[in-house]
Point group: C3
């Protein structure tokens, strides 16, 4: 499956689903048709068993400027209803990517703001170009936060920096974002696509069932009690101990790379 | 409303509520009358609609030395009951400031210990004088932690440093506190009041409804599931999209500063 | 009580329980008999009232290489059942150490991987030799995580680095582990035992009831609401305000070190 419409380009190849935010003329800002196309691509990534890893990136100078503020202005007095539909649709897509049992890689090709920040940092692995920077940007226009930002930021960078970003609109450079854990690591802008391809291939070759389970446990970690999480770990190990673990253990003793794609 | 009694000075002006810990002769240590006055000031900050931002600071060389240990000694065998009344009253005030729908700024003018540490770091924004330092100090006298410290420290600095501060009584300098996220940033001692005034004015001019909602979501972030928080974000955006958002979006397109005080 | 069997050496002296992982010929890798001996030692640490502090360390070049992968290979198709028994037993021991009302010190004498990483970083205080390094190592053999790692890592180092360690198998040096809060601090390898002894003595001389309560609150912090935790703090202070607090407050005014061992 592949499509390009309403600001989303989507394709699947080599076990990798690639979603590109593709409205470069307005900084990949998201309106309702684009949110719907994003949701559609996210569903495809989750349900297509051939997809072992998903990559989200942006086309052009920005990664994503956030919600389409022009569309918000046009909504006028209907803004609450319009925001509810836009955000509800976007959240439906974000939930698919956040909870699918396969890893998510984001390649941040440029500045990310508002819900663009949420999308940028939601990857399990986030590679940031040096030209990228990170801004919450909601407060400036009298809004709060969406896309899971108020859930994710404290987990990634601690409550203090989350407060600073959301309540004082502090903008972080790519290097600052790496230092505090907002992104996994920075990459020269010219190297981002190539380095991203390497990481995507690696993730697509990983034991996808084990990674899906590990990712779910990391997502549920902070809000879970110790004993609950211990039991999840035990169950996930017993479940993981199928074809992937047999292949992994065999490869370990045969001193060869494991082939999880066949497992 | 304004008052000065029992070690608390309180005044409201320009949309800002200012609470000053004011028992400088004993390091602003807190006894029961002072805790009651603090609770009273906190109630006023929450309920006075003209207050858009609250500032807590200390008078004298210390920010706050913690609970009044002299009063504890006097309690003798009645110490458990005395502590319950003191802490219960103080917690009632802390809860008002922690959950009010408006931002809290703390200006840490000097060393903070025990429950003084809790008060110092509970701000959404914490400016620390260079002469301040930070100590949990409970273990040394056979006590545990109060004022929300065991809730807040792990969220701000991670579990490891929280353990170090509470179980080994590690003292952090102002610079260390900034580096690990205990405070937002350090300021030269001579500049603290002026810099604090600037930040307070900025917060008082921010969209207070949006900030109130954002602050509630940050407070509830760690213990909440992803889907729950996504729904809170959606609702808060729909609610936020009232007068403040209309003003913010209009100002954005008119390329002028937004006026949220009038919104 | 003391014993040495199945890869665990255990002894109690001077109020300190010492558990040593002692299968140095295979990197202290853990099989079922060793997990059972570990559980037994953990029960003794929790139930022996003379034990005021527990120390876990490893014998030989490694701290612990993780689960015994040779035993896993031998399990063949029975791997899920074998893992369930091994991990269930190990978790039973880990739960005792994680929830006992006394402090836990780990001395990481060398590399830690897999569930060895979980054991290494579960201390309230973790001293790391410079030669130690830290690897999750599960993904490489198609497994997920156990020993509480998926609960503990995000709390210690944030979600981003936890993802990096678990999903990309990033290995951290001792210095990196200190910088990000995975360990409390690093110590020259030759100094680890002596420095560990000092810290153990200090912890054993601390107010054990207060530390037990503080440790429980830190463990429950992230997943608890603010008001719930405030009430726990209040109750723990009222409870703590027994013999230990009386001794601590008296010592404070008499300007002498407190003697909590006698309290």
């Amino acid at each position: 499956m592949s499509f390009s419409k309403d600001g989303i380009a989507f394709e699947v190849a080599d076990g990798i689903g690639r979603i590109t935010l593709d409205r470069p003329d307005i900084g990949n800002a998201i309106d309702l048709p684009m949110a719907r196309a994003f949701f559609e691509a996210a569903i495809a990534c989750e349900t297509d068993a051939s997809v072992r890893c998903v990559v989200v990136t942006g086309n052009g100078r920005l990664f994503c400027a956030g919600g389409d503020i022009g569309a918000m202005r046009q909504a006028g007095d209907a803004l609450p209803a319009a925001l509810t539909e836009l955000i509800g649709t976007l959240h439906a897509g974000i939930q698919r990517l956040a909870t699918m049992p396969k890893p998510l890689l984001t390649l941040v090709n440029g500045p990310a703001a508002g819900v663009g920040l949420s999308l940028a940092v939601m990857g399990d692995v986030v590679l940031s170009g040096k030209a990228a920077h990170y801004t919450a940007a909601y407060g400036a226009i009298g809004l709060t936060a969406d896309g899971g930002l108020s859930w994710l930021l404290p987990r990634l960078v601690g409550l203090r920096k989350a407060q600073e970003m959301i309540l004082t609109n502090r903008r972080l450079s790519a290097d600052e974002a790496e230092a505090c854990g907002l992104v996994t690591r920075t990459v020269d802008d010219a190297e981002l696509a190539a380095e991203g391809e390497k990481v995507a291939q690696k993730l697509a070759s990983a034991p996808v069932a084990a990674f899906g389970a590990a990712r779910a446990m990391l997502r549920e970690s902070f809000e879970s009690g110790f004993e609950t999480q211990l039991d999840r770990e035990l169950r996930s190990m017993a479940i993981a101990a199928g074809a992937e673990a047999r292949e992994g253990i065999a490869a370990f003793f045969e001193k060869r790379p494991a082939n999880f794609r066949g497992a």
